[in-house]
Assembly symmetry: C2
Homo-oligomer: 302 residues x 2
């Protein structure tokens, strides 16, 4: 499974980067290869200052080592050694009219002192962060992942949609979600009905659904007009993205506190950001419309 | 002591806000009065888009209530109820040549179930975050606080200078400090030699030293020329300020996770910020000179 999953994310990294470069038409990804002191390493690809994409990072890594006390506290299970591989990507378009997107697909193995595999699971998901709400985009994004989920288990989409809303939540902002969600799953383990190959296939189908879910939205919104007020709002909302990632995101905080590669972890942060004191959108504005949906997540597939 | 300390920080808030408005010559502070659900409240004053100061926040609060499990985990001591009052301020100038400054002075009391006072202490400090290093400014800032400390105890400055370097440390950036430091102290309790009044006087002298330490630096640097490259560097370095406050600062994280007033806590964040992937200053540049001092803090008073 380790090799199978690594091949999947290698292919996925290539195809996502190719599709983004093609759509952007100008900027190219640059790759940094890095190694981790405790074992393993990764391939970080970042594109900057494109026609459409201001900053996009697609990171693939495979790391292994001892389960440190910090990792043990993070995991909800015990073990002596671990192996983890995954792909993580964040795409920040230049235009305030084009949403940010994030996705992550990972596989984890845990071993006892004798290096016997004692546990393994899959995790992942994808979510959309618009700055101006276009309902058709949220519907398209969710429907694409619902179709992917439904091929495997009809309980997956409703469960993982809810988990996504629960996870990407700025609790310190009165439960304002980071965006309009998508799907989020973790600790997805094989059982009598769903073996490892089944869960792997599910990850693969979700991974390859990402560009189908996101890029048509970019195409549709990339030429919409905007001005200074929209740019300011974009930067303010990106501030909330920073707040979520640095205050609440388990992966980010764990990575930074456990000697991960800081630049690869923080490639997720948006390039230009504003933090203004107590900014409130006008009643009845497009900006307020977004906040309402973030505070009270909707069902996008009925 | 509660009343005495509250009077001190009320006066200090007024005098600092007055001096900043006077120097800026344009922008004025606006005050928000807020109450806390668990007990108490505060007075948040924020100034924005001035001639010299892009964003400045001076917050005063007095809160009380039950010691929650989250608070108990944060404190290194036990109790049933608490009282805390303090002033906290962060000043972000517009020009990259003018450093950011932060200061905080607070007093804490702890009670048992019968509301008997069982513990109390003082905390505080002030630190300077330049974007371009001018050694004379770092020396002036540190010397001002050394003079303040030395009036009370010659061991204070060396100890609190070191604690400041240790505390404002972006450990995830190879121990790059947030700035050139200053002083930081916490859990300063009365003892046989230094009673509460002595420690109060120390807090008061440090509090009133702040404008003497900082404003002459603003005066000296406010007219220095700068261009696009300096603005970009300023915004990137402000990104590090955000990283420290959201990832490492105990007060910020505790406040956000314990239902504090988010806008008052996050007024500390700089207004315009950049996060670029893997930016490295050129060898021998003014930018690299700053990083070297942040990674290897200097003694500024010999």
């Amino acid at each position: 499974m380790k090799e199978q999953f690594e091949k999947f994310i290698t292919d996925l990294q290539n195809s996502i980067c190719n599709e983004i470069e093609l759509l952007d038409g100008e900027a190219k990804f640059k790759e940094d290869v890095w190694t981790r002191e405790g074992g393993g390493g990764g391939f970080t690809r970042v594109l900057a200052n494109g026609n459409i994409f201001e900053k996009a990072g697609v990171n693939r890594s495979a790391v292994h080592g001892e389960v440190t006390p910090a990792l043990a506290a993070q995991l909800k299970t015990k073990g002596s050694h671990f192996f983890a591989t995954g792909i993580s990507l964040v795409i920040h378009p230049l235009s305030p009219m084009v949403p940010t997107a994030h996705a992550n697909f990972r596989y984890f193995e845990l071993y006892d002192e004798k290096k016997n595999k004692i546990d393994s699971w899959f995790g992942g998901g994808a979510d959309l962060t618009p700055y101006y709400l276009f309902e058709e985009d949220a519907i398209h994004f969710h429907k694409t992942f619902k179709v992917a989920c439904d091929q495997f288990d009809s309980s997956f989409y409703p469960k993982f949609k809810l988990q996504c809303d629960d996870y990407f939540n700025n609790t310190h902002r009165n439960n304002e979600r980071r965006g309009v969600g998508g799907i989020f799953y973790d600790y997805l383990r094989s059982n009598e009905k769903q073996n490892e190959e089944f869960l792997y296939q599910f990850s693969e189908v979700c991974g390859h659904a990402f560009t189908k879910a996101y890029l048509p939205i970019v195409e549709r919104t990339k030429s919409l007009p905007y001005g200074e007020e929209q740019i300011r709002w974009h930067e303010l909302r990106r501030g909330r993205y920073v707040e979520f990632n640095l205050i609440h995101d388990r992966g980010t905080i764990f990575g930074l506190k456990s000697n991960g590669r800081t630049e690869s972890i923080l490639m997720s942060l948006p390039p230009r950001v504003r933090f203004d004191y107590d900014d409130k959108p006008n009643a009845g504005s497009r900006e307020e419309e977004l906040i309402k949906v973030l505070k009270d997540p909707k069902e996008w597939c009925n």
